[in-house]
Symmetry: none
Subunit: 225 residues, 4 copies
């Protein structure tokens, strides 16, 4: 549209004010659609939610949804990735500055059960229910997310073992990491989705953490003189 007055070094013209605004609006709209889809997927189920429903809720037309997302699956994938990213950040933060001690696991449990679960029940439904078994593409993303969460947990466990003694078995770290994820998953599902008892989550979290810590310790060759 506007002519380039000076050659730009690489590939980025300084964006005009209106271009910035448009960019912002664009992202807002994208997120609006994503939120609408997320809510509906969680509430009604991925398959029972039609594209028109999503468009309606986001107050746009079906065509617009397709302008922002390749297809319905893409919507689910983006939502899934967003949730995974958020979850990793949350747990990652818990492990910061707790290297080497079991405190990181405690914080991670606390933040998951007391922050994430009660505030994002629809994300629980999305990542642990709706994204299960939908298509190869979705499953691939799901695997990647779970793998990364497990890797993060495994890294945290590694630093614990560096400090408190190595694991008795070579697979222990991975197994424990996956176990913790499984615990979080099933407990969240059980208490948030099936029983809808957000009030119970604090106690649940405490018990879960106690269980985890006992479990981890039992898998370590204790490093005592």
């Amino acid at each position: 549209m506007t002519q380039q007055r000076y050659p730009v070094e690489k590939d980025q013209a300084p964006p005009s004010r209106s271009a910035l605004r448009r960019q912002r609006e664009r992202e807002q709209r994208l997120q609006t659609i994503l939120d609408a889809a997320g809510t509906l997927f969680a509430r009604e189920g991925y398959h029972r939610t039609g594209m028109e429903r999503i468009a309606d809720k986001a107050e746009v037309s079906v065509g617009t949804v397709y302008f922002y997302f390749k297809n319905k699956e893409d919507l689910l994938v983006k939502l899934l990735d967003q949730t995974g990213y958020e979850l990793r950040n949350l747990l990652g933060a818990a492990f910061k500055n707790a290297d080497g001690t079991l405190e990181g696991l405690r914080k991670a449990g606390k933040v998951f059960f007391e922050d994430f679960c009660p505030n994002h029940p629809e994300k629980i439904a999305l990542i642990f229910r709706e994204s299960a078994g939908q298509s190869e593409v979705v499953e691939a993303h799901r695997k990647k997310i779970f793998d990364k969460l497990i890797a993060d947990l495994q890294a945290a466990l590694k630093s614990v073992s560096d400090n408190l003694g190595s694991f008795r078995s070579p697979m222990a770290a991975e197994v424990i990491a996956a176990s913790i994820l499984g615990m979080f998953e099933r407990l969240a599902y059980h208490y948030m989705i099936w029983q809808d008892r957000p009030d119970a989550l604090q106690a649940v979290g405490e018990d879960a953490v106690r269980f985890i810590i006992g479990g981890v310790q039992n898998c370590l060759k204790s490093k005592r003189p």
Copy 2:
């Protein structure tokens, strides 16, 4: 239950030989269809499996499938219930004659990872993937199955606590039960479905059991003299 002391005159003719045979054939065919559906659901996914595919694989006509099952959902529900029943029996047997000790949990882990998982990968997929978020009816059955498994585990934990000391928290038994289920679920999914490493399952099971036992002990107020 109670034996008939005298033969009952009429009201219930002894089923003829041919009637018995037909009854048997009927059940065989029903199971054939169920198996076909189970395999396809696990391999291709519930939604991507059409009724015609199922009929073809079972070598019957579509109408026959509907003669034995109300609808597609019914197929999934029956499959789910069957799997749930099997799993409960398996774990239940592990807890028999191990009351009061942690031996029951060890056996349960062993039998799940070393027997159930490698021999029934499709049931893992079915109960932990395909049955998730399909419909209210399916979800209700899923909840019932999970609830029962949790109740069984909880009962086993109760008898452990009777023996070794009570739990530090009132919810502990339930939380631990759900946690163990979650561990089994995610580990089975991780190593069977995503990594397809049935050979790793023995080691995984051992680590998982060690983790569980440590976890349980840590949640008990130790009963020491």
Copy 3:
């Protein structure tokens, strides 16, 4: 089955006792099935009634229904014919011994509204609702029945006109006959099926008869000296 010992003159061996009994049972069963079908067709509608429902109600198997009737349509046709036959007999009797006077029409109206309608609501539904527009074959039978009823009425009107004076128009007799049938049809439908007021039928019949008689008279060139 049994050999013919002596040549039978035309085509009928003297039926044995058991053959007679079988014949009777056969007809009873046939009628049972027909009744079951009639009830269900009237209550649930021809299309929404499956053959299995009919067999169940008649306490026989589906195969047996097909032994007695060629197909579902045949069931409807037989039922329709039976009803038509009954209706013709009923109205025919009303015209007996009333030749030449309007008394026959009065009696016909009376017997239709006060006998037939309240006692056979399901036949009203069958002939005036369920048999409409089902297939060419059914429609052909329906036409034949209606045509005959109209012909009967027309004959009755003819004898009235012989007595009281000829009709002003050549088509009058046929038109009036069809009109009377239409009146009966719609009044029966209105008061029995839609309003379910069998108690009103006497009054309805009286008004209808008065209307008919006035109508007929108005179409006659009165034969007065």
Copy 4:
């Protein structure tokens, strides 16, 4: 109703030209589909007409039919309502400016037999044949239409009776109204659908009207000075 004295500022933008055109096209297409369905229902029968046939005849896709109509039943209901509306208007117009005399009935008969029947045989088939006994919903609409037609006729009869003398029986007006409808129905069916003699309809109409007028008069307590 009330004129806007001042232009309303916003809230309702004047529909753009293209919007108007689209609205028009939309209604045209809807009517095209309705016509296609009406023709096929009348010619082949409601049940023997598949949705694909309808779509083909209307030169649209199946999906488009479902975009404009909820389902097949809806198509029939809309068609039925349209026909009922048309019929009421037709007869209603006949009664205008004929209050108190029998002229209205004469005109109504004339317009029905000489205009409606020969010009819309498919609507005769639809309202008097195809819509009979199809489903509860359809039957409910059918009842409503017939009830309204009867009510209209009844009102016309009422004004006749106001003029010429009251009816001998309290139900007479309703009975006669239903009777007239039944006559129209059966005569139209008889001469248009079964005998396909549109040429006979004029004579039929005249006889029918003569019959009706005689009938009505016979039901009135004649009001003579």
